[in-house]
């Protein structure tokens, strides 16, 4: 009989037994027909049960059969204890689901290898240096000429591939009026070959498509974009698209699921690097360099070689620097090239979220451990309640392994149900987190496939969970001493040790989670309540792009038109809005001396911008309409402090960079953040939007932002009107996006908001689980010792004494757990410090709050069992025994 039919027979166990029974019965009938005595035949056949068992085992896989029996029994047990089972399953499901969701995110962002040939051979060329601010920094963007030099020098050891950081651009397939946004990468022509990628339509770019600057107007689409934008229309090959005044021909579509090399953004369109217009500039670092190291090549010598080439390149470049001090030049040159493994790609988002995601990962693992400890405690308590059953099983011959199997199968039932629910939770939660860290201006696009990686992780997790919470109770149950247990006088002092240990662990982890949650919440609170210096109320930001740059006067005309729209209070123009990550910086020189070591930041603004932003003027005046860049400047307090020792700078002159026309400081304004809310206030000079070059000719802008203060409470209500008004004012002006300043502010604290929110959520879950666990243990302790308590009450013990008797052990565990949690918290501080903002882990409030919350929860959990203990009626209790 095949294994399969034996497995099938498993589910027809009754029938198999019946058939054996029937066959033996016919044997007896036949014998009687021959004239033999029925009892004699039965005696000759031997014990029917034994034959049946022996034959049955042949026809059924015995271990599978026992597993089936245990499974049925386990499910019955779970159904019988409906409340505890539901609580266990839900808490485990939440924990498993959170872990799986965290894994999906971490995997998609940091671990999943790129869908290319041999991703393990890929490295990202990164430069480590001491930044202008004196702190260690690293960046992985390169200038094209440096790339070219490195590529040619190491071509025998590695293929170097240039991939621009992903740009969100405006492009059109038809007319200018139908511009749309798409993510675009400039890549070396050889990238597709090197990655072993194939086209699904047309052809891909090759090395010959990337030879001459501006000579290869060809585009390749990603499969995802092709499906999303064109519904997989094969006729898209040969069509043209236009962006930045260049018309490209679409030559093909690259196979799925490749969407670029930077997790967090998905590239729609690939263009040859030579088309970027920046390939000849040695001062524009705009692309990553990915190295595909050939097999058998050692990394260290390759790294040294690249380092030497990069160094020579920068040294040559530094010769032409004007106005940089020796120290700065030395710092600039003291950088080292490191080859960082990039099997999972390289992106800014990875850097932004690596630590956050890993911290969250640790938090969810802690929640999982707490949930496991909880369920283990419940099961252990139940195991003691089932001691008699287990003892009976041992007495009639069950082996230890068989009992372990019995209890583990029950645990597995629990864990599998929880995993199924948890899987659903993860399926819902992971995309939710991605949405939470996306902002309209900076969407996060992550592929979150539910593939074998996620499945394998879930399976491993489930097995780990079963062993974590099921093994200890199983071993305990199987270690039962039948003689004692059946008499009902098991040693009462041996039991609570495991339970108490688990309580301490739960409390320690809960403390850690609450502590970290407190730090994250305080960080979010400090960041969102940071004084801004300006008012974001009712402020609308219109980002405008032009097909051809225009002079400031033209921009002023459009601003005038917008001022006439009803509902508009004030309109100003700025190079960009605050918190848009744009920045422009340079060194400042005073009195014709060489520039100092501190960078100043610049923003061009129209007259009236300060008033529109409600930025406080401390001294001097705003710009006049005829003032230009260079010529006049408004500076902030930090600027005055940095360069003028805090004296009133109005009337003084500063130079930007090397020798050039001076800026006369006309006004001093209040400090305000510039590009990031996390940075300290930078020294900022606001300069006139109107600019003239050294020959006196007016400069032009291809893009800028209108900053509009509206009269209505909701600035977005005016968005559509403004968009139309801009188009009506000038046909070449196009609104590319509309933000409110409030939204931009909010986007600054997305990460902190996410961390605070999730940490609070996990903190609550941990606290709830710990409280339930504590309650369960105390309740169980009272139940176990009710006889003893009854006797004590009968001989005159006070209620207080009884309460102390019941709770003292558990409360000392809570205290030990809290102290351990505190130690863990201090130890973990160094890992989360980078995520904090102006929060000291050693603040008394940071430590006191979790302790208070925990002890309050412990107290709450102890009240009902304590009341029950005191209310025990000694007479009834002693009579019942």
């Amino acid at each position: 009989m095949s294994l399969w039919s034996r497995a099938i027979n498993l589910f027809r166990g009754e029938r198999v037994s019946r058939e054996i029974e029937e066959e033996l019965a016919t044997h007896v009938t036949e014998g009687i027909a021959e004239g033999r005595d029925a009892s004699e035949i039965r005696k000759a056949l031997g014990p029917a049960l034994q034959i049946r068992e022996e034959s049955r085992d042949l026809r059924i896989i015995p271990w599978l059969d026992s597993l089936r029996a245990d499974l049925v029994f386990g499910c019955r047990q779970l159904v019988k204890r409906r409340v505890t089972s539901t609580a266990s399953i839900l808490s485990l499901a939440l924990a498993i689901g959170s872990c799986t969701a965290a894994f999906r995110l971490i995997d998609a962002m940091l671990l999943r290898p790129l869908p290319v040939k041999n991703p393990e051979h890929l490295y990202d060329l990164t430069r480590h240096l001491i930044g202008f601010d004196g702190k260690p920094a690293s960046y992985d963007l390169w200038a094209y000429p440096a790339f070219r030099r490195m590529r040619d020098a190491v071509k025998d050891q590695a293929e170097l591939i240039a991939i621009s950081s992903t740009l969100t651009v405006e492009l059109t397939y038809r007319s200018d009026q139908e511009m749309e946004k798409a993510n675009l990468d400039y890549v070396s022509g050889g990238m597709f070959d090197s990655f072993g990628l194939r086209p699904v339509a047309g052809r891909l770019l090759s090395a010959s498509d990337d030879l001459m600057p501006g000579a290869h107007p060809y585009a390749v689409l990603s499969h995802d974009y092709w499906a999303r934008r064109f519904g997989k229309d094969p006729n898209v090959v040969g069509r043209t698209l236009r962006t930045d005044d260049t018309v490209y021909q679409i030559v093909g579509v690259v196979q799925a699921p490749f969407t670029g090399t930077s997790p967090g953004t998905m590239t729609d369109v690939f263009l040859p690097a030579m088309m970027s217009g920046k390939t000849q500039r040695d001062d524009a670092a705009w692309m990553r360099t990915i190295a595909r190291v050939k097999p058998g090549i050692a990394i260290a010598p390759l790294q040294a070689k690249l380092n030497a080439i990069s160094h020579a390149f920068e040294e040559e470049r530094a010769k032409h620097f004007v106005g940089m001090s020796k120290i700065q030049t030395a710092r600039f040159l003291a950088e080292t090239v490191i080859l960082e493994p990039a099997a999972a790609g390289a992106s800014n988002l990875q850097g932004d979220y690596r630590r956050s995601l890993l911290s969250l990962g640790v938090l969810v693992v802690l929640v999982l451990l707490i949930a496991c400890a909880n369920v283990a405690n419940l099961m252990t308590a139940q195991a003691s309640a089932r001691a008699r059953e287990m003892a009976l099983r041992v007495s009639i011959g069950a082996g230890r392994a068989r009992l372990v199997q019995l209890v583990l199968v029950e645990s597995a039932c629990l864990a599998l149900l929880a995993s199924a629910l948890g899987g659903l939770f993860a399926w819902w939660a992971a995309p939710l987190v991605v949405r939470l860290i996306s902002s309209p201006g900076k969407p996060v696009q992550l592929l979150l496939p539910a593939d074998w990686r996620v499945f394998a992780f879930g399976l491993l997790l489930t097995v780990a969970v079963i062993l974590l919470f099921g093994l200890a109770p199983a071993l305990r149950a199987s270690g039962v001493k039948p003689a004692g247990a059946l008499k009902g006088c098991a040693d009462p002092h041996a039991r609570p040790r495991l339970i108490h240990g688990l309580i301490a662990v739960q409390v320690a982890f809960s403390f850690l989670i609450l502590f970290v949650a407190g730090l994250f919440v305080a960080t979010f609170d400090r960041l969102s309540n940071r004084p801004m210096g300006f008012s974001s109320d009712r402020l609308l930001v219109l980002n405008v792009v032009l097909s051809r740059p225009q002079q400031a006067v033209v921009w002023d005309d459009v601003a005038d038109r917008l001022r006439g729209v009803p509902g508009v209070e004030k309109v100003a123009i700025a190079g960009w809005a605050v918190f848009t990550a744009n920045s422009m910086n340079n060194f400042i020189s005073l009195h014709g001396e060489p520039p100092g070591p501190v960078l100043a930041y610049f923003l061009s603004v129209s007259p009236g911008w300060r008033e529109t932003m409600r930025l406080k003027l401390i001294a001097g005046r705003d710009f006049r309409p005829d003032e230009t860049t260079p010529g006049a400047a408004l500076v902030n307090e930090t600027f005055a402090r940095e360069y003028f020792n805090g004296e009133n700078p109005v009337g003084k002159a500063v130079l930007r960079g090397g020798p050039a026309a001076p800026f006369w400081i006309v006004g001093l304004v209040a400090d305000a953040p510039y590009r990031s809310i996390r940075e300290p206030i930078l020294p900022v000079a606001y300069v006139p939007f109107r600019q003239v070059d050294s020959a006196g000719a007016p400069g032009s802008y291809g893009h800028a932002s209108f900053i509009i203060r509206t009269t209505g409470a909701n600035p977005l209500a005016l968005a559509q009107t403004m968009r139309l008004e801009v188009a009506r004012a000038r046909s070449d002006f196009r609104v590319s996006s509309i933000d409110t300043q409030e939204e931009l502010n909010r986007a600054q604290t997305l990460r902190e908001r996410l961390l605070a929110m999730l940490a609070i959520f996990f903190g609550c879950v941990a606290l709830l689980l710990a409280t339930i666990g504590l309650y369960g243990v105390l309740d169980y302790a009272v139940l176990q010792r009710r006889r003893e308590i009854g006797i004590r009450l009968a001989i005159g013990a006070s209620g207080g004494r009884i309460v102390r008797l019941v709770t003292v052990g558990v409360f000392s565990m809570v205290a030990i757990g809290a102290i351990a949690g505190l130690a863990l918290g201090f130890w973990s501080i160094r890992y989360v410090e980078a995520l904090l903002y102006q929060v000291k882990a050693t603040d008394v409030s940071m430590l006191a709050l979790p302790s208070l919350i925990l002890f309050a929860a412990a107290f709450l959990a102890a009240v009902p069992p304590a009341i029950r203990a005191v209310r025990i009626d000694p007479v009834a209790m002693l009579r019942a025994e």
Binding site: M1, I20, E22, L24, T26, H27, A44, I51, L58, R59
Partner: protein, 109 residues
Amino acid sequence: MPRTDSLQGALDLLVLKILSRKPGLHGYAIMSAIKERSGDVLRADEGSLYPALHRMEEAGWLRAEWIAKDQRQRLRVYRLTPEGAKQLSTEQSRWQTVTSAVNRVLRTV
């Protein structure tokens, strides 16, 4: 005390041989056949017959089916499979080797 009618491990061989001659016998009939063919010398132990039949069925040498004897009763009858036939010849030659070896020993001593 040794039992002269014990089959000493030859039960499989006898069952296979009998079923190869007369396929479609049920348990009791196989037992009777062993008794009859051996001239009442050999007797299959009724207690070990059924486990042996089930074991051989499990090994794939026998195939069992239920046939109706009359309105109320049905019988489980066994047949040799091709594999069972192969097994029979193996067992047979092994038996002959053993018995001839034993005979040789008896002759020489």
